[in-house]
């Protein structure tokens, strides 16, 4: 297909006076797992609900699997599966019944995979909705989604409440889904999960995507932490472009460097003579905090 499964340009959505989405752009290519990062209330769920045709956009352009998510909702939904972050089951239906019902309404379910998933996720399908724990309710929706033969998975914080073992089962299934050509939009704030799974990441803040790219592209835009022990005290390091937060203690130095300028910085260090060096690429957490740092430290001007 020529167009990518999800293509959003300038999407705006208001709830009364509050602006939930503000000219949001998002593009998810076929065959990738796309991480959708942002804190609570940034607009991740709203975006997904617009993609599902549950909410009506106020402005902008949204293309889902080549169609209009509002007008063609039901036809498009046969080609995708959705897992909400907070799964509410019907109290008197069993987990197995819910999995089958949702699968049938989606247009079919792979029974062999269904049974395999139930086993891997250690889920008892004979319990009623009201007696499942939070994690088990989540598993019901995950089994239902992963057992369907679809092209696209819309996952809205799908693993909240899952233990680490189940988390890794989830990751292996999503990986396989992608390897078979499927596309995934994974909204999450479990950064380890995003780092392990995602090919590309979009970071959303106050209804606007502020950063989008592969993890290494994003890292490139940020700084690498460097600790170095030199042959003699460093000279001229502070004047170098791209060096920040320099601390010198005799022959030892600590600083952070713009990843894009590491070449020149390293060359300067080699001139002095390097005894030992550790360079730490920024973690996703640091990437994330860079965009939200001001929210964490509200006292700073």
């Amino acid at each position: 297909m020529a167009t990518s499964p999800i293509e959003i340009h300038g999407l705006t959505k208001h709830f009364g006076a509050t602006v939930a989405l503000d000219r949001l752009d998002l593009s998810v290519a076929k065959g990738e797992i796309h991480g959708f990062l942002g804190p609570n209330g940034a607009g991740k769920s709203t975006t997904i609900r617009v993609l599902l045709g549950l909410l009506r956009k106020d402005a902008g352009e949204v293309v889902l699997l080549g169609g209009d998510p509002w007008a063609d909702a039901a036809e498009l939904h046969r080609r995708l599966a959705y897992v909400p972050g907070d799964v509410n089951l019907w109290p008197n239906l069993t987990g197995g019944e819910v999995i089958d019902l949702l699968g049938r309404l989606r247009g079919g379910i792979n029974r062999r995979r269904r049974d395999e998933l139930l086993e891997r996720f250690e889920l008892d399908p004979t319990k009623r909705g009201r007696s499942y724990s939070k994690g088990n309710r989540q598993k019901v929706a995950l089994v239902g989604a992963l057992a369907s033969d679809v092209e696209l998975l819309l996952l809205d914080e799908p693993t909240s409440g899952l233990d680490p073992i189940m988390e890794s089962v989830f990751q292996s299934y999503v990986d396989t889904f992608r390897d078979n050509g499927g596309t995934v939009l994974l909204s999450s704030h479990i950064l380890a999960e995003v780092e392990a799974l995602c090919d590309r990441v979009s970071i959303i803040r106050s209804g606007h995507v502020v950063e989008s790219g592969t993890l290494s592209e994003l890292r490139h835009l940020t700084r690498t932490a460097v600790r170095v022990d030199l042959a003699s005290p460093p000279r001229g390091l502070a004047e170098l472009e791209g060096v920040y937060d320099l601390e010198v203690d005799g022959t030892r130095a600590r600083f952070s460097a713009e990843t894009a300028r590491l070449d020149t910085v390293l060359a300067a260090l080699v001139d002095v003579g390097v005894r030992s060096l550790t360079a730490t690429p920024p973690t996703l957490e640091e990437l994330f905090l860079r965009h939200y740092g001001d929210q964490l430290e509200p006292t700073e001007p």
């Binding site: 549950l54 019907w90 019944e97 007696s131």
Partner: protein
Amino acid sequence: MTGWALLLRTFLRRDRWHFLWWSVGLAILYVSQGWSVDGLYISQQDFDEAAALMESNTAFIAMTGPPRALNTTGGQVIWQSAAFGAVTIGLMSMVLVARHTRHEEETGREELVRAAAIGRYASLVATTVTVLLANLVAGALVGGGLAAYGLPVADSLASGAGLALCGAFFTGVAVLAAQLTSTTRGLYGLTGAVIGTAYLLRAIGDVGSSWLSWVSPIGWYQAMHPYSGLRWWPALLLVAAAALALSVGYLLFVRRDLGSGLMAARPGPARAGAGLRSGFGLAWRLQRGSVIGWSVGMLLGGLSYGSIGDQAGDLLGDSDLTREMFAGGAEDLVDGFYGFSLIMLALIATAFTLSAVSRPRSQEEAGHAEMLLATGVTRLRWLAGQLAVCLLGTFLVVVCAGVGLAVGYALATGKGSGFERFALPMLAQVAPLLVVLGFAVLLYGVIPRLLAAGWALLGFAVVVLMFGEVFRFPEWLRNLSPYEHLALAPAEPFRIAPFLVLLALAAVLTGLGAFAFRRRDIA
């Protein structure tokens, strides 16, 4: 038991509205019987004649209780109210016990409380005391109310005390049930079955095999014979039964873990059955219990109206109030009474329709709609599935009411004409019901949070039916009620025009609502 007094105070605070409404409701149930009896029969001769008719009416006796001193106000009050009162106070006890036991364990709140410095028995003791107090308050209000109305004091107090003791017995049953099952629904099921059985046993006993009345706690209450030779000793049976049920409940309580019941929860099907493959299938699955329950209820309601037979005129007395309320201008009091009954049954059926039509909204709020609408189901199909169940249920409920009327009438009079005179006109009442349904759908589509306004329309229609004639409401105001337009069967012949107009109106309202629903955001 450490901390039970503290819990008791919290429970009493949380339950204060329950205390108020249940006991006021019960007091009204009893005292209003006295008021209506005194209003209906002007002369003692009227009263004697009506009483003689009632005593010979088996259907009445099965519904209410053993007929004693029916030509006195007190005798009428206890006859009409005791069985219903006992069932009501049983339901109150059941709801209150469930609220503080199973519901708290299901939501996990009980775990928080038990983790505090509070004894193992504290919350169960506090629950028991709370519900017994609620019974006491209700009994006192009923006894005091009857005495204040001017009935003999000792008999009035006995009526209240017996009622409270019935409540105590059902409290014990509910506490026991709370140990057996692990869910609130299970508790309701078990306790409800005991209440129903107690009512049924005394019904059969009062009609024929009188020993069965002596197996039923409600029968013991009625055996106290207030206002017709009061005796207190049957109350001891109630005390003993309540104590027994409570003791067994407490014994079982120590033998189970928090959150579990002695009866293990049954596993359900691991795969969905063939019926569960569409929005309609799901809606039916979720609502079938309520549809069946309402159908049975309306059948019984119809039966009870129908079993009055041609005695309506004599039973209701001949006061002006009766004529205005029931006859509604009809010449024949029997026809007038059945015309009134048809609309009354239709209004009761509307309560089913309104509760069924509120399901889409509660499904939406619970996040269930979101999961379904994220599949291949279109919005219209989803809504249509929900409304189809509502529509089907409405038809079923109305048909049951009509059949009940006709069968009851046939049983009482031996005449089969009831099918034509009452059952068919009852069917026509579907039209105003569907108008209310359409109104509710319109609200749901446009402003879902105002859905409850549908109940206001029902309330208005009830007021118009009960008081429109008496207080001479202007014509245009009465016409706002959808129930005021059909021909007044059985006195008047069926007219097709208003029936079709109502149906058309219902269709337009529903269509507009569905149109609006397609265009709005899903919560």
